[in-house]
């Protein structure tokens, strides 16, 4: 059965599906239609991968887009629901992952969700003015006066009361050089039985900033979303615009993009592996990973002129070809990599004191994977078969025939082992592509067209979703949802029953991005 038949059997009716430009299917619905299809999606455990709002889409006030993954199909299904007023029904009770999306939309557009269980603000903290909704087209980007914090505009944390219960507030300013985030623990002694994470301390307004930009220039916004996901986000954005423009880029550019994406995964995972060792106070085990990571950074710099590979990607291919010598050096370097990496992982896998800290710590239980759309290594370490490279192939991944790797325990040790395995897989992918690297141009000229598209990539942290709408040759709406936006919520569940001193380790093993969540 193809997806059309599957969907029509599911919904028991003829569907008015609109084919998107990147094998996504749009289905416009009214309120009763939406309720019906959402029930079907819920019964079949299809995952909500994003929910976002667009103003003036097809000249109709606000339109909500509910994007779903259909298990077993490359296509994504997106319900389009045009609102009549500034109100919409909340679906957070059936799809818990919708909670943050709905709050995000309320902040950005002022849309009220009826029946929502959590109506607190999300990315605009309480000190912002009441009627301030920056994503409205009527709002022009500029400075905004915030009110000083007071008791009236205080954020209300979930209160847990009982004998011996106390709260530990941590952050947003931390002792290390990390991004801001507030963690409110409710503990009895050392055992955590509730954690509430409050983020969004450094909202940059990237989505608003993108609006009105020329699509070619907006790549720089995409790569600034999160410094260590530069490649993933830049490529996701470029793919989106290329799909809209009906452009296929030169083979060499496609291959080099894949090499750089996998290099990003390698250095990101190396950083995590090192970080996990540091957080159990075993820096001797961390240093081999740090050394390898630094070497990869230097290769990145030789290849692209930037350790984080900024300013490298362009709509149509790459901004510049990589130097031949740097490629040669990388290929020589990678030959010795697996052995050295093997020695590094063997150190940590042979120390009982390290394994003892990793095992059973911070379990992400399978039952939260679907409702919260947990993605990336965090999900795979808990046994979820998910990888955007395999489920929704993009770039070269369709031909590469990757094998799914998973772990079952879902604890820190599972994430450690999974990431270690993924590093070696990425190295193999890079080597394979470099052995058959095409010659020629790395950039294809193109004409900007209008249109909208959903593009997804597997960033080191998991699935990143980009939705781009080009209107009159300019970016009209750019919506990004990174893997961290979903996975932060997994942490609130993973820490339960663990002790406070194990929290930093659990946090590190999940490698969540603050910037990637707060655009």
């Amino acid at each position: 059965m193809n997806i059309y038949e599957v969907l029509e059997t599911l919904f028991e009716q003829k569907l008015n599906l609109i084919e998107g430009l990147n094998s996504e299917l749009y289905l416009p619905l009214d309120e009763s239609g939406l309720e019906k299809v959402l029930n079907v999606m819920n019964e079949n455990s299809f995952e909500l991968i994003s929910l976002f709002c667009v103003e003036d889409f097809a000249e109709k006030g606000f339109t909500l887009f509910y994007a779903f993954e259909i298990t077993g199909f490359e296509q994504t299904l997106i319900f389009q629901y045009a609102l009549n007023a500034n109100q919409a029904p909340s679906i957070a009770k059936t799809f818990p992952s919708a909670c943050w999306y709905e709050r995000e939309i309320t902040d950005g557009f002022g849309i009220e969700f009826q029946g929502a269980f959590d109506t607190r603000r999300l990315f605009l903290h309480e000190t912002y003015p009441k009627d301030f909704h920056p994503l409205l087209k009527s709002f022009k980007n500029g400075p905004i006066e915030t009110a000083p914090p007071s008791e009236q505009n205080d954020y209300v944390f979930k209160q847990v009361e009982g004998d011996g219960v106390y709260q530990i507030p941590v952050g947003p300013v931390h002792a290390g050089i990390i991004e801001p985030g507030h963690f409110r623990f409710s503990v009895i002694g050392e055992a955590i039985f509730n954690l509430e994470v409050r983020l969004f301390y450094k909202h940059r307004g990237l989505e608003k900033l993108a609006e009105g930009m020329a699509p070619q220039d907006c790549v720089r916004i995409a790569e600034s979303i999160s410094g260590d996901e530069t490649v993933a986000n830049a490529v996701a954005y470029c793919i989106a615009v290329e799909k809209i423009c009906g452009l296929s880029i030169p083979k060499r550019a496609l291959q080099l993009r894949t090499v750089l994406m996998e290099l990003e995964r390698v250095y990101s995972h190396l950083g995590d592996l090192a970080g996990m060792c540091v957080d159990v106070a075993y820096p001797v085990g961390a240093s081999p990973f740090f050394i390898l990571r630094e070497e990869i950074f230097r290769h990145n710099e030789a290849l692209t002129g930037s350790r984080f590979m900024k300013d490298t990607f362009a709509v149509g291919g790459l901004t510049k070809d990589v130097p031949a010598g740097a490629l040669q050096n990388l290929s020589v370097y990678l030959k010795g990599f697996p052995d050295r990496f093997g020695v590094a992982t063997a150190i940590d896998n042979s120390y009982f004191s390290v394994i003892d800290r990793f095992e059973t710590t911070g379990r992400v239980k399978p039952e939260i994977l679907w409702p919260l759309h947990i993605t990336g290594p965090v999900a795979r370490a808990s046994g979820k078969r998910t990888d955007t490279r395999i489920d929704h192939p993009y770039g070269m991944y369709g031909e590469l025939k990757l094998k799914q790797k998973t772990q079952t325990n879902g604890d820190v040790f599972a994430r450690f082992n999974l990431k270690a395995a993924e590093v070696l897989d990425s190295i193999k992918i890079i080597q394979k592509i470099m052995s058959e690297l095409a010659s020629g141009e790395v950039f294809a000229p193109f004409q900007i067209r209008d249109g909208y598209v959903l593009s997804m990539v597997e960033a080191p942290r998991g699935q990143n979703v980009h939705w781009v709408n080009i209107k009159n040759g300019l970016v009209d709406r750019y919506k990004v949802r990174t893997a961290s936006f979903c996975n932060w919520q997994a942490m609130e569940h993973a820490v339960l029953g663990n002790i406070v001193p194990d929290f930093p380790l659990i946090n590190k093993s999940m490698n969540l991005s603050y910037a990637g969540t707060d655009m």
Binding site: I168, H174, A175, A281, V284, V500, D502, F503
Partner: protein, 314 residues
């Protein structure tokens, strides 16, 4: 004359501990850094840090009381007095005035007690967390320390530390098995009391995992310098106990410059070796889970009890 020598001993021993102890903090850091293929700080870095802190302004939380102000002084004072009990290079003449092991332990306990109070005093979360963890660990390690020191007292038939060292020095036996058992216990006590891996991590920036560091998180300026200095001194004192019981060779009872120089050189050499061992030990394991720590303490307790049984019944 006796008293004059005693006073000279006291001043020299105190000054020695005060001036030399920061050296071993840096040294252990250097050893650990090399284990990680890093270079580590210069040997004199801890002195520079202390000098920098002494010049800085001291900031007090508006919630804090006199405890916050008194704690650094109490700590330095208690540890300095305790340093009179542990002869590092010269053993004073036998006298009842110095060396009582029980008083020594109580001085250390007093310093710790005030440190834990000051952790609570500023009203910050981490301070309180550190204090509660430190007290939980203390409740477990202190009985162990007492049993270990009791074992020592039985082994040397005295509760006076300088007398123990004199006995150890006079002993004809090169290595006494009982002393080895006690030394292992003492080594574990050094690790615990100087807040090292696997008990605590002196290098971490992660507030939620801290024990000792969390308690002094609210200290600043010269108060912080005093806290750092007193932990360095405490570490050296415990190292001194271990060294002068296990390998007292070179230790002298004579007040001649030559003997003192030899003793000084011998002590520094032994302390450097011990610091390297501590650094390597720390590098060889990850920090233990908080609730698994009693296992480590139990080893020390077990060995001390064996010693007691041997000494009492053999």
């Amino acid at each position: 004359m006796d008293y004059l020598a005693l006073i000279a001993y006291g001043i020299l021993n105190m000054l020695f501990v005060l001036l030399i102890s920061p050296l071993f903090i840096s040294l252990i850091k250097i050893v650990k850094a090399h284990a990680q293929k890093r270079k580590g700080p210069p040997l004199l870095q801890t002195y520079r840090n202390l000098a920098k802190l002494l010049k800085k302004e001291t900031v007090y939380s508006s919630n804090s009381s006199w405890i916050m102000r008194a704690t650094p002084l109490v700590n330095v004072a208690a540890i300095l007095v305790a340093s009179l009990f542990v002869p590092m290079i010269i053993i004073p003449q036998p006298t009842d005035l110095v060396g009582n092991i029980i008083l020594f332990l109580y001085l250390l306990a007093m310093a710790k007690f005030f440190m834990a109070l000051s952790g609570l005093d500023a009203g910050s979360t981490f301070g309180g967390m550190g204090s509660s963890r430190e007290m939980a660990i203390s409740a477990l390690i202190e009985p162990v320390v007492i049993v270990v020191f009791a074992a020592m007292a039985f082994a040397f038939k005295t509760i006076n530390l300088p007398d123990m060292f004199r006995d150890a020095l006079a002993s004809n036996v090169l290595i006494d098995p009982v002393i080895i058992l006690i030394s292992i216990s003492l080594f574990i006590i050094i690790i615990v009391e100087s807040a090292r891996v696997p008990v605590d991590n002196p290098e971490t920036h992660l507030e939620l995992t801290m024990i000792h560091e969390a308690m002094i998180l609210e200290q600043s300026g010269k108060n912080l310098a005093m806290m750092e200095l007193s932990s360095a001194m405490k570490q050296l004192l415990l190292m001194g106990v271990l060294i002068n019981i296990l390998v007292p060779w070179g230790l002298t009872a004579d007040f001649t410059p030559q003997a003192i120089l030899i003793s000084l050189g011998a002590f520094l050499l032994k302390a450097v070796i011990l610091a390297v061992i501590i650094g390597l030990f720390e590098s060889s394991c990850a920090k233990s889970r908080l609730f698994r720590l009693p296992g480590l303490f139990a080893i020390a307790l077990f060995l001390a009890i064996i010693t007691l049984i041997i000494e009492v019944f053999a």
